[in-house]
Amino acid sequence: MRQKLKYVHRGEIVELADFDPTTTVLNYLRYERALTGTKEGCAEGDCGACTVVLGDLVEGKLRYQAVNACIQFLPTLDGKELITVEDLKSEDGTLHPVQTAMVEANGTQCGFCTPGFVMSMFAEMHTNENTDRRHLNNVLAGNLCRCTGYGPIVEAAAKIATLGAKDQFHDREIVTTALLESLDNEPALHLNWQDRQYFAPKTVDELARFLGEHPDATILAGATDVGLWVTKQHRELKSVVYIGQIDALKTIEEEDGQLIIGAGVTYSDVWDTLTRHYPDFGELIRRIASTQIRNSGTIGGNIANGSPIGDTPPALIVLEATLRLRSKSGHRDAPLEDFFIGYGKQDLRSGEFVEAVLLPLPRKDSRFATYKISKRFDQDISAVCAAFHLTLDSGKVDTIRICYGGMAGTPKRAIAAEQAIIGRKWSEETIEAALTVITEDYQPMTDMRASKQYRMLAAQNLLKKFYIETSAPGIATRIVGEGGLAYA
């Protein structure tokens, strides 16, 4: 076991010990290191003012990703390279190409969001060369600006994508890679500070063993939810076990007609695969969060936190996904829909954790769709999220699975509506009948996201929409996403 955090910064390995393991990267930078370029705008990973870039190795190749420093705990830097806005200028003080592009495009006004935008664009410069407006919107969806209206910023981002610029990080790629490789061989990090501990096992067995001994430990993956327990609810986490160092949990495999998605796989990592198999699922991943959150958050976490408004469970449930749960005594597979017992209550035994999600690959003749309704298209929590999965047999419904988020205390199937449809003709009459009985499936509530009346009406209309899309594909029904009219 290792008791010192080690990460790479400015071409050197930084070692740190004896600190509160739930200190956020942002607070560490601002108040311990006096690196105040990185800002706090919300402390919940929504505004992006705190964006920093992390470098890690993927199959030996250096990868740069933007993340929200405000919700990342400091020890999760272990084994990575940290880059902040202060690191971008050249040694002689010359601005980085991204910084120059922002100045030239008049991309700053009050400037408080600016470092975050610069870092998102810096990561993007090291990842893609794509000037497509929709792509750039996705890249910047997690950076809020209240002054500019975004136009000049997008202009700067587009310019960078055409420049093919090189910077000092390209120049020292070999050195950085070597440093990161050296850190890769370090033993697992186990920090103790006052009455708190932080453990980052490197294998699933170590994790299982630790959770067997510390069943109350908080499992940390992307910190996109757990981070907020600290920054928003000001909770004290005594024992944290981080799964982000376990390579075995970061794999996506195809086996026996299903995808096995490890619990540590981020949205970013699984995005392409899901888009390929289920385009709507890909669109859901796009809208579920920003680039920064997609780079951190995991599908495993989205399930395990048991939220009634998690966006992936409805889709996973209608696609008959299975959850692989693991503990020190072995693993068990269970249908995902049985995992959600009630509001805030999941079928998770002591010392048990989510190891993987098993998602069946598309059946040839089935239709799947998922819809997310929120006040804002990008990076918003759903008022209602719906998923449908249908197979027809000569015009009649063979199977249909319907599941909604935001309509009950858990993601929940519309059993009554399904029953009203199965075995009948896939027709307007059948849908109308199902719309009537769907009111028996849910008693939604009113909150700041929507009223119960809206939730019910939108739920009904989404079923209608699914029917329209499956029976009259020529009719335009989507504003955003692939084929959406917003960019037509």
């Binding site: 919300c42 601005l95 209206g149 939108a458």
Partner: protein
């Protein structure tokens, strides 16, 4: 560089040039300092404010003894510790810094904890024992109206007999419209850092648009003379009006901590506390009735506004006045009544926000123009045109000001053409006939926005200019920088007058000990007022240099010309630097103050009449939207803007204000929804629940132009116009375009009821209602 090469053809940074924001290079590098970035002084204390959990309650007990003994706590600050007046209001004296006996909104400050760390302060605050006796809370405008709960008496503007004109008109329509508030969502929350000085003096870094008011409130709170308190602000991470008044509470608390402990103290609100504790844009309920003829020309108009002011007055008087002054927008209403109710509710005290009541006032007639057009089966643009103010006749506002600079007709005509409005409107109607679920909508709406503080005494400004013997200059003025580019504009003015490169002009932080008795940077007036004051200062130094040179070289003053970075004296030329050096050697003062007060304005606050505005700024926008009639989701897909900035001081900066204003206005009218529960608790207090526009919300097609012929007819600073607020209201076109799309569901025979913001829920419910109405009328027809 000490002596950079000087440009001789033309100076760098002259007025009307698109010079980049002065801080841009620092901002992109993370080098621009905001208050929380200032290196923390030794022994700094961190402050946390304990807040009321109830919207309206008697405070039966507040026991902080356990707080005092908690780890790290150095002081607990309560109302009893206040040496001066426990108030930080801008005007009315009704904003207690710490609650006494009663709480009037959830989030109201009860006491503050000063501790070694923020975590300790926050944890300690939880240990207080607070007992409330809950009282009924008035949360909504409707509840307030029912209970006759007001912060101020109602106001009225009347011309002619609107009631008679409406009842005798051929047609009449009535609308009721609820308009939601808006959180500023500046990226940097409220923050203050107070430092102890000699003689009990206090120095405060405050993120404020109004350092003078912070100074006055801190002094009043601590029972100090104003000269003992100095306030500085270099830049804010956004303001938008939200930092015009309410930063005073936090500055006062930080200053009190300094006074009580002798140690520096900082208070920085996190996002949630900022959104819960500080005021927002006023929500309005507007009832509008108009009588009109077959052409849609309005003969009588009656507006009744009621706004949610919150628990105290703050700036609600001027905000509601401005709403009344903008109920006409660009239109002449011959007979008109405008009534304004200023409701007291047990919610946070609402405050200034870009547009300052103007947007709410303007939305009402703009909605009505479309309703009239729908009723008459006309193009809304035709109805608008037939109601526009005239140039020679029909040119007096309801408040008796003659509109002398009306360019709305020209702007509308040019935009109508450049945006291809008519063809697009037809194309959209054709699309809607073919598309059963997705519907498009379009609208063109104009803006006329009055420029000047309606509180006339605020229309003054001061500046302080030093020229050093190396020819470099330093400018200071009363305006504050919140990203809007005021500092660069004022520096351009100085560079222009002295004809020196802008790099030679040092921009400095705004401080109350340099320029005193300043007005807030608000009402879009920053460049108008401070630009003029700086010009006056620069002119007086220039005059001194000319007078000196004339005497020194024995030459007529009119033979001395300021050229780029040099001065021509007769046939000879001397560099600016050498002339300055020479003047110094001959004992000429090279430091000057400048002062400006806006001419022509006068206004009777009791009758709400006169000339409250020096001039008007104009603009117009065409927005195109798509709505989903199954879900109510909606998106603005294209916008065309033509906006009047007069002769722009800096087109790059002004375009930034225009685009930013439109997008912020679009957010107000679409995604940004404040949700208070029945008990008055705000449930949307972070970006997870309160949705300002994100990058993808910007319309993919965004055409924007400054009105090229624009030139202020008044003698403003280099004939420019104010630009901070007016573009915000261009976004009304987006809201009206959404209503247009909904109207298509009824084949444009019905105009939908639609409240703001147009969230998916409100749009779907409006679609639902209009569909039901169509369905009912079809049934009725079938039965006949």
């Amino acid at each position: 560089m000490r002596s950079p090469p000087a440009n001789t053809r033309e100076i760098q940074g002259q007025v009307h040039s698109a010079h980049p924001h002065d801080s841009a290079a620092k901002q992109v590098a993370g080098d621009a300092l905001y208050i929380d970035d200032i290196a923390e002084p030794k022994d700094l204390l961190h402050l946390y404010i304990a807040q009321s959990e109830k919207a309206h309650a008697k405070l039966l007990k507040m026991d902080v003894s356990a707080v005092r003994t908690a780890p790290g706590v150095v002081a607990v600050l309560t109302a009893e510790d206040v040496p001066g007046v426990n108030d930080a209001a801008p005007l009315a004296g009704d904003d207690p810094v710490f609650a006494e006996g009663i709480v009037e909104y959830a989030g109201q400050s009860l006491f503050a904890v000063a501790a070694e760390t923020m975590d300790q302060a926050r944890a300690a605050a939880k240990l207080a024992i607070i007992e409330y006796e809950e009282l009924p809370a008035i949360v909504t405008v409707e509840q307030a109206m029912e209970a006759s709960s007001f912060v101020l008496p109602p106001r009225e503007i009347r011309r002619g007999d609107a009631t008679k004109a409406i009842t005798t008109a051929k047609h009449r329509l009535r609308q009721r419209l609820e308009i939601g508030g808006q959180d500023h969502f500046y990226l940097e929350g409220h923050v203050a850092l107070a430092l102890p000085g000699e003689d009990g003096d206090i120095f405060v870094h405050s993120s404020t648009q109004h350092p003078t008011e912070i100074q006055h409130n801190v002094a009043k709170f601590l029972d100090l003379p104003d000269h003992s308190v100095t306030v500085e602000i270099r830049r804010m991470g956004g303001g938008f009006g939200g930092k015009e008044t309410q930063g005073a509470w936090f500055a006062a608390i930080a200053a009190l901590a300094v006074k009580m402990t002798g140690r520096p103290a900082k208070i920085r609100l996190d996002r949630d506390d900022d959104m819960i504790m500080t005021g927002k844009r006023h929500d309005f309920v507007a009832t509008v009735e108009m009588g009109f003829d077959d052409e849609g020309r309005v003969s009588g108009a009656e507006f009744i506004f009621a706004s949610r002011c919150g628990r105290s007055v703050d700036l609600s008087a001027s905000i509601n006045d401005r709403a009344m002054f903008h109920a006409d927008n660009c239109y002449y209403f011959e007979n008109v009544t405008i009534i304004s109710h200023r409701c007291k509710t047990h919610t946070v005290s609402n405050t200034a926000f870009r547009g300052f009541g103007g947007p709410q006032g303007m939305l009402a007639p703009e909605r009505m123009m479309d309703a009239i057009a729908c009723y008459l089966g006309k193009d809304p643009l035709e109805v608008r045109k037939s109601n526009l103010y005239g140039k020679e006749t029909r040119n007096v506002t309801p408040y008796q000001m003659t509109v002398e600079d009306n360019i709305a007709p020209e702007i509308i005509t040019e935009l109508e053409k450049s945006a291809d409005y008519a063809a697009r409107r037809n194309a959209i109607r054709a699309f809607n006939r073919m598309s059963p679920y997705l519907k498009k909508g379009i609208a063109l709406t104009p803006v006329k926005f009055g420029i000047s503080f309606t509180a006339s005494h605020l229309n003054q400004a001061g500046a302080l200019l030093h020229v050093y013997t190396d020819g470099s200059a330093m400018i200071n003025h009363g305006g504050t920088e919140m990203g809007q580019g005021l500092y660069i504009k004022v520096a351009q003015v100085v560079a222009e007058v002295l004809q020196i490169d802008i790099e030679r002009v040092k921009i400095t932080a705004t401080r109350t000990d340099k320029v005193p008795n300043t007005s807030p940077t608000a009402a879009s007036s920053g460049a108008d007022l401070n630009g003029k004051a700086a010009e006056a200062a620069a002119l007086s130094i220039k005059e001194r240099l000319i007078t000196f040179a004339a005497a020194h070289y024995d030459i007529a003053a009119d033979e001395i010309k300021f050229l780029p970075n040099r001065v021509r004296i007769g046939k000879d030329e001397i560099s600016f630097k050498d002339l300055v050096q020479l003047a110094y050697m001959n004992r000429i003062s090279l430091s000057a103050t400048g002062y400006y007060r806006t001419p022509k304005i006068h206004y009777d606050a009791t009758t709400l009449s006169g000339r409250p505005f020096y001039y008007f700024a104009y603009g117009a926008a065409v927005s195109e939207v798509i709505i989903d009639t199954l879900t109510g989701e909606n998106k603005v897909v294209a916008v065309d803007i033509l906006h009047d900035t007069g002769k722009s001081l800096n087109p790059a900066i002004d375009l930034g204000q225009i685009e930013g204003g439109y997008i912020q206005g679009m957010g107000w009218l679409t995604t940004e929804e404040l949700y208070f529960d029945a008990k008055g608790i705000l449930k949307t207090h972070a970006p997870s629940t309160y949705k300002i526009p994100a990058c993808s919300d910007r319309p993919a097609i965004f055409n924007m132009k400054i009105f090229e012929r624009g030139e202020n007819i008044e003698e403003t600073i280099f004939r420019s116009k104010a630009v901070g607020e007016p573009p915000f209201m261009l976004a009304i076109s987006a809201f009206n375009a959404i209503a247009d799309a909904i109207s298509s569901v009824a084949d444009y025979h019905l105009y939908p009821d639609l409240d703001a913001p147009a969230t998916p829920e409100r749009v779907l419910m409006a679609v639902q209602k209009i569909t039901e109405t169509v369905h009912e009328s079809e049934l009725t027809e079938a039965a006949q």
